[in-house]
Amino acid sequence: MPDSAALYRTVRLIRRFEERAVELVRAKQIFGGIHPYTGQEAIAAGTCAALRRDDLITSTHRGHGHVLAKGADPARMLAELAGRATGLNRGRGGSMHAADFGLGVLGANAIVGAAAPIATGAAWAARRAGSDRVAVTYFGDGAVSQGVVLEAFNLAALWRAPVIFVCENNGWATTTRTADAVAGTITGRAEAFGIPAARVDGMDPEAVLAAAAEAVARARAGAGPTLLECLTYRFDAHHTWEHTARPRYRTPEEVEAGRARDPLVIQGARVPEAERERIDADIEDLLADAVRFALESPLPDPATALDHLYADGTRVRAGAA
């Protein structure tokens, strides 16, 4: 039985986090910009609800939702986006590399598809170490044409690795339509490797949770990988640069239609109003604190720019000597 309120809470947290983050981009408090996850929250919320704290995930360029859903502290996450020394990655990673190894978040990844084998390897290693931990790797519809993802399907299938491939099909890879980039179907690509695959309503957190729970159970039981194609829609820009550059590739009508089914509304309807309001208020407080924490946190010291370059502390030559 899904905990509807908890799912709603996660969806709401991600939605409001992204909205605040976009504001901070506009205010130039976040260096560069972000790829907003708005609209896709049901997927992170539903899949992570099926996971244990010690399970592993890898995330994407559009990764805030996954990291938050897996339990990362929104304040340290926002501090990371704001490039502060208190951030999850001490300000070294930013939006596209947010990681929290204590929670099994092996990092967002800026290279489309690159994390699929990493998650597969982590899943394989977890089993080798005798645990029943599983790994979830997120990627978009654009990633299913990336060779390394397909190679990872093969390895995961051969080894029955406890990994769940979660494809967030939002219809677009930047400005390219899924149909123009993907011959055949996404589920068919996994099935070709003998991986069970299902299409899931990626706007409904409970549908996602149900499908994810089944895949996780399979993986934990040693029955191997699953692919879930979650159908969704990106409500906002591919990246916040669109807010100023305004490339034209989706019609306003399409965007409006895409936004018609909103995971926040769908899940919100399952929670009593009073509880929903409590959750909403709670999240506003949480995010207000997070923003404050982030913006009041110290910037990293430029003298430490090379810290952590090597895990063993090897020091290298500077660029001027």
Binding site: G83, G94, H97, A110, G142, A143, T175, A181, R248, P300
Partner: protein, 326 residues
Amino acid sequence: MTILSYLKALNRAITDEMDRDPAVCVFGEDVRAAVTNVTAGLVKRFGPERVLDMPISEQAFTGVATGAALAGQRPLIEYQIPALLFLAFEQIANQAHKFSLMTGGQTRVPVTYLVPSSGSRDGWAGQHSDHPYSLFAHVGVKTAVPATPADAYGLLVTALRDDDPVVVFAPAGAMGRREDVDLTALAPVPLGVGRVHRPGSEVTVVAVGHLVHDALAVAEELSDSISVEVFDPRTLHPFDWQGLSDSLDRTGRLVVVDDSNRSCGIGGEILATAAEQMHLIAPPKRITRPDGAVLPFAEELDRALQPSRDQLRTAIQTVAKAGGFR
């Protein structure tokens, strides 16, 4: 005269060559919508058969370009991020580059690889901020790093006409440059011919890409005390060794400023070649990124690992007054 931006120069070079030669075609991600703006207007003008949006499959579409080149086309590939070259590295360094020699000269692979906004861009962090031009000079793929709009135009046109693979890096730090030019006088710039942006007699500063502008600014600042010549190689392979040697014959002192990692970067190559073969009256210096640099996200950390004007100024001053070799 017209104000030409660097970005527009790239766009114009491609447009002109597509007009001139029907074999030129464009491959890349989001090139029809032109998210980098480099390919703006192309699909409208030349149609979708010559401007192809690619699925996210860098290795395959780089190989497709090789195959298309073997069959008579002259593809240009736009990569949105420098690191995408890493994904296609085998296809470039081990395939496209090697066809000519391995086949005993039976064929040629005229492909241009263009990376707009190479190097660090605001907020893109570790995996998107490399400046890997030295890797291509090492493997021997022709490599251009234009500094100015006119050179961006001229080098890109040359790359598109060249019968070998050519990588063109358009540094993020140069993409915003603008220049007053006579559009009718825009012309191809040959590979392997550097450019003295500013003559000088005491120290030669070799600057790569966007750093040419920093070098010019620092040279200007120092002009009361030190006469600095600013040499822009424009292409890293082939390299204008003769041009550099001529400059060092005048100055005998060398500073290089290079936005790639220190070890085995083009900065080191220039120092090595100068030390081996050219007129040097004092130990040379280079300003680079650190060894094996990974650019951290936060702005101040990112900046701390890239060559700065301060570093360059200090290096020039040190080299200008240094004694001979020990």
